[in-house]
């Protein structure tokens, strides 16, 4: 866990708010999952938009 706690390089001098070790570490633990979910959600909404547009264009043509 020591590697996880090596966080000092992530700060400049101005950080006045204590982010909390636990809050920082939790984010690092969840980082991979959050990133994957985000990519999945973004791609999914792009796919949905693509098909919606295609479908509505087709409908316009039919009309």
């Amino acid at each position: 866990m020591n590697a996880l706690l090596s966080l000092s390089h992530l700060f400049r001098g101005e950080a006045y708010l204590d982010p909390g070790s636990g809050s920082f570490i939790l984010q690092l633990i969840l980082a991979g999952l959050l990133g994957s979910l985000f990519v999945f959600r973004s791609s999914w909404s792009k796919i949905k938009t693509f098909f919606k547009e295609k479908f509505s264009r087709k409908q316009d043509k039919d009309e």
């Binding site: 809050s23 920082f24 969840l30 985000f38």
Partner: protein
């Protein structure tokens, strides 16, 4: 510093501080914040947020800095009519403030910046919508770093909103005791077990609280690490928090407070007449600002706010404030701000030296105060003598429109039903004589088809 007055809420952040000078509010930006501030302006984020009404505007001014040795610039932020606090907001106000904070963070990340704090106190309601008032909340984004303000966001927004939605809406009042937001271990204890099956609340509240307890005493190793949080993961965190906040719902229908907008105790003619009298009084005095005390859903507050008068509508019922706020949003009202306030226990001064968050009485007063269908509640339910009421109203504003409700009124009788009538001085004569000590009574009009009287008074 002597000619300047440094403000009590602004001492934590070394980037700068607020001060007042000749009745105006200014902000000193310190040299240590110079690069971050310049990046806010040069990256285009400032213009982007200001144009969307999300960030307060400011002007750079030529004023001698209160702390010259560390000063970079002095700015004058746009003036706000009234500063309100998260424990005075209804559910949807706090939710909108949370969503604004996340939207700002997303835009900041696109411009190479990140929010370095996410305090709910940095958000205010201006022209009916939430706005970020701290221009020094941004720092240049450091690649691969987790969000510094994540803990604060969960404590200030996610914890109170989930407690309001899942446990009890009145738990927003914990914010009045816990000045840096609700501790996550406390929120975790108070939330029902079903929230453990909600992925966002499981991770952001329950596991977050567990991680805080687990790693609280860990020594930080100063060597470099392989552990990173890339931008995609950070955007994923913001996205998951946003989804979580959007999914939190609370509706006044879920409560037993009942039917808000009806007036069972007035005939239609009486309600019309009351409206007309109030309208006439407002036309006579043209107030520059109005506090409506015990405003319920803001029916009468709107007589003032629709004339363009900035109006605060206070009520102690979270359901009434919620309905009022939702109506403001629906109608796009910009002059009305509904706020949660128990007049028998108004917001106190809290925080360091009791000055970080001001008491209601220490904040600005109004030009006119409305106290409609109110005094019987204060008098009978809270045993407040007329002298105390007159003194309270006189502190809050110059003009007073007050409705006298006689003891014989069905609403007053309802309050007396379960208790002994110890209110021998509750008569119109005593009322007028006591209020005349502090006020000049300009008008009094009996409301048709009722025994109630509407007075217009001016503080002496």
């Amino acid at each position: 510093m002597s000619k300047y007055n440094r403000l009590g809420a602004s001492f934590r952040d070394p980037s700068g501080f607020l001060f007042s000078y000749k009745g105006e509010i200014y902000r000193q930006i310190n040299q240590s914040y110079q690069e971050d501030f310049n990046h806010l302006i040069e990256s285009g984020l400032y213009d982007n947020l200001v144009q969307s009404g999300m960030l307060i505007t400011h002007q750079e001014v030529d004023l001698e800095p209160p702390q010259r040795e560390v000063a970079y610039k002095i700015i004058k932020p746009q003036r706000l009519l009234f500063i309100s606090y998260p424990y005075e907001w209804c559910f949807s106000q706090l939710k909108d403030a949370a969503l604004l904070t996340l939207e700002i963070q997303k835009r900041a990340l696109k411009h190479g910046l990140s929010l370095k704090d996410s305090s709910a106190y940095n958000i205010q309601f201006h022209h009916g919508r939430p706005i970020l008032i701290d221009s020094l909340s941004f720092e240049r984004y450091i690649e691969e770093r987790p969000w510094v303000a994540y803990r604060q966001f969960c404590q200030h927004f996610l914890a109170p909103l989930s407690l309001m939605a899942f446990t009890d809406v009145r738990l927003s009042q914990l914010l009045r005791v816990q000045i840096d937001g609700i501790p996550l271990d406390l929120a975790s204890k108070l939330l029902p077990w079903k929230t453990w099956f909600n992925f966002s609340l499981l991770t952001n509240i329950h596991l977050h609280a567990a991680a805080q307890a687990r790693y609280a005493d860990e020594q930080i190793n100063l060597k470099s690490t392989e552990q990173k949080m890339g931008l995609t993961s950070l955007l994923g965190l913001i996205d998951s928090l946003e989804t979580s906040i959007r999914n939190l719902k609370w509706s006044p229908k879920d409560t037993t407070w009942g039917d808000y907008s009806s007036f069972h105790n007035y005939t239609p003619a009486a309600i019309d007449h009351k409206r007309q009298i109030l309208n006439d009084y407002l036309e006579k005095i043209h107030p520059t600002s109005v506090y409506d005390l015990g405003a319920n859903v803001g029916t009468f507050s709107r007589l003032a706010s629709t004339k363009g008068i900035p109006t605060l509508a206070f009520d102690f019922d979270p359901g009434a404030v919620e309905i009022n706020y939702l109506q403001c949003l629906q109608e796009g009202e910009t002059n009305l701000l509904p706020l949660l306030m128990d007049l028998t226990n108004p917001s106190p001064g809290i925080g360091w030296q009791n000055e970080e968050r001001l008491s209601l009485m220490a904040r600005s007063s109004a030009d006119a105060v409305l106290a409609l269908a109110l005094i019987h509640h204060l008098l009978i339910s809270n045993n407040l003598p007329f002298e105390h009421l007159a003194s309270f109203f006189a502190q809050l504003g110059r003009w007073l429109v007050i409705e006298y409700i006689p003891k014989s009124d069905p609403q007053a009788q309802k309050l007396l039903a379960s208790r002994e009538d110890i209110f021998l001085n509750y008569t119109p004569q005593v009322f007028e004589s006591v209020f005349s000590e502090r006020y000049k009574i300009h008008h009094s009009t009996e409301i048709h088809e009722s025994d109630r009287i509407l007075y217009l008074m001016e503080r002496k």
